[in-house]
């Protein structure tokens, strides 16, 4: 069951009390977060590298049509067929038509977020084509009927025991008495199952981390090598990518690759980074006979026109979610969207409309950790605030919330009134709460106080203390 964005508050509450999920999420700070920190510490110039990454992405987006045309020209010259898709439905039709023309009954797929975004698997399966995810994490969640809970570690919400149970459920062709005592034995089993698929699939579908205008190449990065088998063994290779993936030159791609692996997993390079350029050449002994590239808009041109253009710099490393206290508390599924975490809270309203997704930009403390680690310096907090403002002006937030915010706004824009109320609250709250030092119950804050106490004010307001400090008055 894939949760919905519209029920985000309930999804989050359920996630908070899901002990299995909490155990899996507890590995994040010591895992991906610590690994990134160590990798970044080894490159003293990392900050300058981030600025360079931002500059490359901004420049490309400012000239996006030119670089797309250049990519198209080079890729076509290399023998690829380029397709353009305005939205998800267009893209599904194009990919299905290629598969149909190839007589495909089995498709293997590399890990690709955009194919999740356009709902490709469901469409192909509805049309009688078997689709098998080849990334191990994606394979596991595909078997479970789940969505990825993280953009680079899709099965991060699962433990080894979960995977063993799933493999025993789904791999019924293997003896039930087999031993699966460790991660190695589970990986070996998946490898054997997948090999058969790689060797018999008629079509391989991959995403693209980048498209290179200089050479007409698509770049994928994997640690498993599944993407390479996907785009080398089947007779037809389809690259599915959104239009924002293009970069001008090979050198630009190298700069972004330096940022990507370090930010994502703390590796300096993933095990396999591959530039694929068209189908097999004359005399080649392997590789696909045909190569198609599907360039998808699906809302990107709308984002390009306004402040959301900054979000199109994203290189999908996942660092923003790894470092987000909200993601760390509830995991990826609670967001109910393909892209979770801070970048998801910016992208999803752009893709699905803010009226369906108004909860997402509020799923942030605005602590700014996401911005601090973003390899291309996307102003995630500012962009989430933009969506909050649109949700507010579109009257999409709750009535109580709107009332409280309206009252707060009224007072906050009238300093003298605000000071008066603050003094009253500080003095009154201080007097009422002095005996216990904290409140356990307050009107309109029941939810907030269900898991914490509210410290009682100490009698004076921040402004009073500030003025005294400025005047040099000792407390």
């Amino acid at each position: 069951m894939i949760p919905s964005t519209s029920t985000f508050p309930r999804n989050a509450e359920e996630a908070l009390v899901d002990n299995r999920l909490q155990a899996a999420l507890a590995t994040l700070p010591g895992g991906l977060v610590a690994q990134r920190r160590a990798a970044v510490a080894k490159v003293p110039e990392f900050e300058a590298l981030r600025d360079l990454g931002r500059e490359i992405r901004d420049h490309t987006l400012q000239n996006l049509d030119g670089y797309l045309k250049a990519f198209e020209k080079k890729a076509t010259a290399a023998g690829s067929t380029i397709h353009w898709a305005g939205d998800a439905a267009d893209a599904r039709l194009i990919v299905h038509e290629i598969c149909r023309a190839a007589g495909a009954s089995l498709v293997v797929k590399g890990k690709s977020m955009v194919t999740e975004e356009i709902g490709l698997n469901a469409h192909l399966i509805e049309n009688g084509i078997e689709v098998v995810e080849s990334d191990l994490g994606e394979y596991i969640i595909q078997k479970r009927g789940e969505a990825p809970s993280h953009i680079i570690a899709p099965a991060i919400h699962l433990t080894q025991d979960d995977v063993e149970k799933d493999f025993r459920t789904y791999h019924t062709h293997l003896p039930a008495s087999r031993l699966l005592p460790d991660a190695e034995s589970l990986v070996a089993e998946a490898r054997a199952v997948m090999r058969e698929k790689f060797l018999t699939a008629e079509v391989g579908i991959t995403g693209a981390n980048f498209l290179v205008a200089e050479t007409g190449s698509s770049i994928i990065v994997t640690n498993e090598g599944n993407g390479d088998l996907t785009q080398t063994l089947p007779p037809v290779h389809i690259v599915v990518a959104t239009i924002d993936k293009v970069v001008p030159t090979l050198d630009d791609a190298m700069v972004l690759l330096r940022l990507l692996a370090r930010s994502a997993t703390g590796q300096d390079m993933t095990a396999y980074t591959t530039l694929a350029t068209g189908p097999r050449r004359e005399g080649d002994r392997d590789g696909p006979r045909a190569c198609h590239v599907v360039l998808i808009d699906n809302g990107r041109t709308d984002m390009l026109a306004g402040p959301l253009r900054d979000a199109l710099r994203c290189i999908r490393c996942g660092a923003c979610m790894n470092h987000c206290p909200v993601y760390n508390a509830i995991g990826g599924h609670a967001y109910g969207s393909v892209y979770p975490g801070p970048i998801g809270s910016v992208l999803t309203p752009a893709l699905l409309g803010i009226s369906e997704t108004a909860h997402l930009p509020s799923a942030s403390t605005f602590c700014g950790s996401c911005e601090a680690v973003c390899p291309v310096k996307i102003p995630l907090v500012t962009l989430m605030r933009t969506w909050r403002e649109r949700a507010w002006s579109g009257r999409l937030t709750s009535r109580t919330g709107r009332l409280v915010h309206a009252l707060w706004g009224y007072a906050a824009t009238r300093p003298r009134l605000y000071h008066l109320l603050a003094r009253f609250a500080a003095a009154g709250g201080g007097a009422l709460g002095r005996r216990r030092g904290a409140f356990r119950r307050l009107p309109i804050a029941r939810g907030w106080l269900s898991a914490r106490d509210m410290p009682a004010p100490q009698g004076r307001t921040f402004q009073q203390l500030w003025q005294e400090t400025q005047r040099g008055v000792p407390r």
Binding site: L68, A183, L199, L229, D268, A271, Y272, A276, R281
Partner: protein, 221 residues
């Protein structure tokens, strides 16, 4: 929506002026902490690759490659099986003398060992760069359980920018072979409980044989 419609939407979204030239001619050099030259590049290449679990073997001449392969495979616990080998570009490499049966062409699903020819090494991260060609099939790097890359020591570059310069010097401007593979360690996954396991879909082991100098090459005085 057609190609023209998407391109028009982009143009409308960006507005005028239609072209923003780059503020710089080329990408700036790699960060200094990632740069190296000459002998330091070879040392860094070896250290970075070994840190990724890659086995590094150094031989003086191409004719020593089969012996190194045989010793490596014996060290893995078995006699040298048949190996699937790329065209390494050297005549008369004495495989039979080392007791190794070789086959050429694309890798078969049951191949245990694949040997590729590397175009360059990249010291920055201990990465090997392979390009596909009729004599150097891509599947050698992904289907077998053990992957071995033969690389001339002189082909070890410092950074990724140097590697792209090698690609540009080797192939016509704006073109690349079908597959350019940057390989940094054996196949691995962390998808089961976050623990790293090798041999996910590709090779469980990766070895690099560095050939110090070409057969017949004149040594510098």
């Amino acid at each position: 929506m057609s190609r023209e419609a998407i391109l028009r939407r982009i143009r409308n979204a960006l507005g005028e002026p239609p072209r923003n030239p780059r503020s710089r001619e080329t990408t700036p050099p790699a960060p200094a902490s990632l740069m190296s030259t000459g002998a330091a590049s070879v040392a860094r290449f070896i250290a970075e690759a070994e840190a990724k679990g890659v086995t590094l073997l150094t031989v003086r001449e191409p004719r020593h490659i089969p012996g190194a392969v045989a010793r490596y495979l014996t060290g893995l616990g078995g006699p040298a099986p048949r190996v699937r080998i790329a065209d390494l570009g050297w005549p008369d490499v004495p495989w039979a003398d080392a007791g190794i049966e070789i086959a050429t062409g694309a890798a078969a699903p049951d191949d245990i060992v694949g040997i590729s020819r590397g175009l360059a090494g990249i010291a920055e991260t201990g990465t090997v760069l392979l390009v596909s060609s009729p004599g150097n099939p891509t599947t050698l790097a992904f289907l077998p359980e053990v992957h071995i890359v033969v690389l001339e020591q002189a082909a070890v570059a410092g950074t990724f920018e140097e590697a792209t310069a090698i690609l540009r010097a080797t192939f016509s401007p704006g073109t690349l072979p079908r597959s350019v593979n940057l390989i940094s360690g054996a196949s691995r996954t962390g998808d089961i409980g976050g623990r790293i396991v090798h041999g996910a879909h590709g090779p469980r082991r990766l070895a690099v044989i560095l050939v110090e100098n070409k057969q017949g090459a004149v040594e510098a005085p």
